[in-house]
Amino acid sequence: MINSSLKALGQMLAKKEVSSVELTQTFLNRIDALNPQINAYIALDKDKTLAQAKAADVRIAAGNAAPLTGIPIAQKDIFCANGWKTTCGSKMLANFVAPYDAHVISQFDAAGAVNLGKTNMDEFAMGSSNETSYFGGVKNPWDFTRVPGGSSGGSAAAVAARLCAAATGTDTGGSIRQPASLCGFTGLKPTYGVVSRYGMIAFASSLDQAGPMAKSAEDCALMMNVMAGFDERDSTSLQREKEDYTRDLDKPLHGLRVGLPKEFFAEGLDANVGKVVETAIAEYKKLGAEIVEVSLPNTGLSIPVYYVLAPAEASSNLSRYDGVRYGHRTAEYDDLMEMYCKSRAEGFGAEVKRRILIGTYVLSAGYYDAYYLKAQQIRRLIAQDFAEAFKHCDVIMGPAAPSTAFKAGEKVDDPVAMYLQDIYTISTNLAGLPGMSIPAGFSASSDGKALPVGLQIIGNYFDEARMLNVAHQYQQVTDWHTRMPEGLA
C-alpha cells in the first residue's frame, strides 16, 4: 500500500478496500517507527490528522470524494496551517502556531486530503542539505550518513522513505528538484505564479514557488490539480483557466524536441551523474524524441545573480521577525534596540544571518546599482537565453544536481560549495520557468552505496502538462521511480 500510486490509493478508498483512517494510521505507524531516525517530520498532531481521515471517510461514504480525498499528504513546514505549529525550520518561529491556512493548505483541505504532519526544512528554506534547520538535519533514506538535499529535505525523505503518500515542497533555487534528485523521486516546480504563495512563508518572493513531491509524474499531476489555480490574495498569482494536469500524460513522445544545453554538461558535473543523465536521454531517443543542442550562455551567472537577488528580498521579508508581535523574543533587554538585536541574534541561524547581511548590503545606498540593479538586468538576460533555446526545442533536459547526495557535514563550512548544488536549477527560478526532476538511475558512491540520480526537465511557461507527459512516458518504460531504499519496507 505504501508504494501505491495516488490513483491506486484513490481507487482502494473508493472501493472501501481500505479506509482513510486505516491508510493514515499505516503512515503514522511508519512515522512512529522511522521518523526518530530520519527526522523528516517536525510537527505531528495525530488527533487532527485522524479527525481529517474520519471526515474523509464520511465524504467517501457520501459518494462525493475528490481524487485526493482521504489520502495522507505531508506538508512542508513553510505553509501556515490553522492550529498547526508552523516554524519554517527556525528557532524564531519555534512556538508559532499559525492562526490561518495557506492557500495550498486550504486547497488540500477542500480536496479532502489528510494532513499527516509538517516536514523538516532548511531554516526559512535557505540551504541545500536541510542542515540549517533549527530542528536538526534529515537523513537521506538511501544512506543515513548523507543529506537528503534541501531546502525541502523533510518532504523529500518522507516521500523516499514512504512516510507519506505524497508531499508538498517549495523551490526558490532548486529546493524541490535537488532533493528529488538526491532522494530519487519526482518533484515539480511549476511556472512562477501558478501556485498561490499566500500563507507560504516568504524567502525570496520573486522566486518562491510551491510544487508537488511524489513518487511519479502521474502523482505529481494529481497533486498539481489540487495546488494550482488563481488566488486573489496573491497579486503575483496568474489568472488562468483551471487545467487538468493529467490530460496529456498518455500522449506519445514522437517528434518531441529535447534541448541539451551544453553548459549543463561542462565542468563541475560529476562524471557518473553525467553518464546516468546521458543514458536517460538515450531512452528518450528510443521513445521518439529528437535531440538538439542548445545554449544558455548566461547560465554561469545564475548563482551570483541569485545570491544577490534572493538575499536582498529575504533581508526585507525577514524583517517582520522582530520579537514584537510573535515569534522569539529575547528574555532580557533594556531597550528596544537591544530587544531587536538579541531577539534576532538568538532566533536566526548562521545561514539566515549570512543572507540577511548579504541582502542588506546589496540594497544599501551606493551598492544598489552595482549589485541589485545589475543582477536584475542579468536575470532578464537569463530569461532571454531560455526564450531563445525554446525556439529550437520543446523541453530542455540535463542533470538536476551536480552530484549525488553528499555526506552530512561535508559542505556546512563551505557556503559556496553548498550554493553550487543548485547550479542547474537556479536559472529556471530566475526565469520563472517550470522545472522537474525525475529518477533516472543510480550512481555508486565511493563507499559503495547506490545513490539516486535525477534527470531535470525544464519546460516553457505553463508547459507543466507537457513536462508531466514527458516524465510519465519515461516512467512507463523505466522503473527507477518505483525503487525504494532497502531496509525501509
Binding site: T86, A98, I201, T236, S316, R325, L363
Partner: protein, 482 residues
Amino acid sequence: MEWEVVIGLETHVQLQTKTKIFSGASTAFGAEPNTQACEVSIALPGVLPVLNKEAVNCAIKFGLAVNAQITPRSVFARKNYFYPDLPKGYQISQYELPVVGKGAVTIQVPAVGKNPAYEKVVNITRAHLEEDAGKSVHGAVEGMSGIDLNRAGTPLLEIVTEPDMRSAAEAVAYARKLHELVQWIGICDGNMQEGSFRCDVNVSVRPKGSDKLGTRREIKNLNSFKFMQQAIEFETRWQIETLEDGGKIQQATVLFNPDTGETRAMRSKEEANDYRYFPDPDLLPLEITEADKARVKAEMPELPDAMKARFEADYGLTAYDAATLTASRDVADYFVAVVQAGADAKPAANWVMGAVSAKLNAEEKAIAASPVNPAQLASLLKRIADNTISNNAAKQVFEAMWNSEGEVDAIIEAKGLKQVSDTGAIEAIVDEVLAANTAMVEEFKAGKEKAFNALVGQAMKASKGKANPAQINEMLKKKLGA
C-alpha cells in the same frame, strides 16, 4: 541683510476608502486597539498585500485635479526600517516611479496689512501611494508600551511640492487650498484632529536675490493651519537669527511645540536611516490606462478652478469673488443653489460672502449647517430685487430668519418692513420734508450738492426707513427742479 524664506510641503492625505490599501481590514477611526488588524495588518508569516483599487482611483482623481502627469506604470517599493509600529519591518510606498507626477495648484494668498491679496502657482513635484504605520501607546499598562495596528495599512497619498512658497502665509494658503481640494474631489475627509491631513514643512532661508537654496529643516506633523503659521514664523526667525549670529543650519527634523510656540530638533539627518528601497516583489507594477483615467474623470465633480472660471464668465463675478466662493465645495454648492433658486448672482455672491459667512464665522458653523438655507436666502434676495424691502430692512429679515422666526414674507409683514413705493405717499413725505427744511433747500439751490443728500436722509427718516430710496431721490430731484 534681507532674507528670503523658501518653503516646500509634504502632505500625507489619508484616503477615504472603506478598507486598507493592501488588505480587507476596515479603516474606520477610533475602534478598540487591534480590532481592525487582520493577518495582513499584523504581518503574520506568509501574508501578502493586494492593492485596493479604490485607493488608486483616489490617486488618479488627485492627479487629474492638479493637471498632473499620471504615471502609466508606477512601482511600489519597500522602505525598510525597524520600528515597533511598523509590522513588516518595511513600509510599502512608491519611490522612483510615483503614481502622480508633476502638476500644479493655484493658490489665493489673502491680503495682509498693506499687502494686497494675490494669486500664485505652486508646483506639485509628485504624489505617491503608501501605507500608514500603526501607533505606539505608552503607559496604558504601567511600565509597558503597547502597539495598536488598527491604523497600519491605512491608505495615504503623500503630496510633495516644489520649494515654491516664500512666506508662512503662502504655505498656509497652499495647505488650505490642498485641504479643500482633497475634500472637494472626495478622496479625504479632511479631519485634521484625527490625522487625516498632516503636513511636513521644509523651511530654509537665504539672502534675498540668491538662487542657491539654504540648508533646510523639516517641521514634522503639523495638524492645524494655525500651528503651521506659527511654526514657520518661529522657524524662519530662528534660522535668520542663527545665520546672523554667524551660526550654521544643520539639516534636521524638528517638532513644533504648540505650548511654547517653538520648534525643536528631533534628530539630525546624519543619523538618518538608509531605507534600502527596492521594488516590492509581492506587487505587480501599477498600470493606469487612458481608459482608467477617463472612467475616473467621468465620476469627478467640476473642479474649483473650472467652476471659478465659469462663475466669472457666466455670472460676471470678479476673479476675487469667484475664487472666494470656490475655496470650498460647500460654499460653492450653497452659492449655486441660491442662484438656481432664482436669485441674481451678484447680490447672491455678496450675501454669501458677507452676511452668511459673517454669521457662520461668529457661530463657528459650517455652511452646510446654516440656519438660512439657499432657497430662503434666494427668496429674501428676490424681495430686495422687486423693491418690497430695502437692503437695510433685508438685514433685519435675514437676522430673523437666522433665528428661525419664519419665512421671508411673514417676517416682512410682522415687522412692517415693507418698503413704501406708492408715488402719492412718497410725494407727501417729500413735500413734508421740503416744507420743514427750507434752509437746506436754499443751500441746495445755492449750489451745495451735499444738501441734497441731507434731504434724502430726512425723507428716509420721515418714512422710518421704509420709503424706496430711489423713488425719494427721483421725487426730490423733480420737486427741486434739479
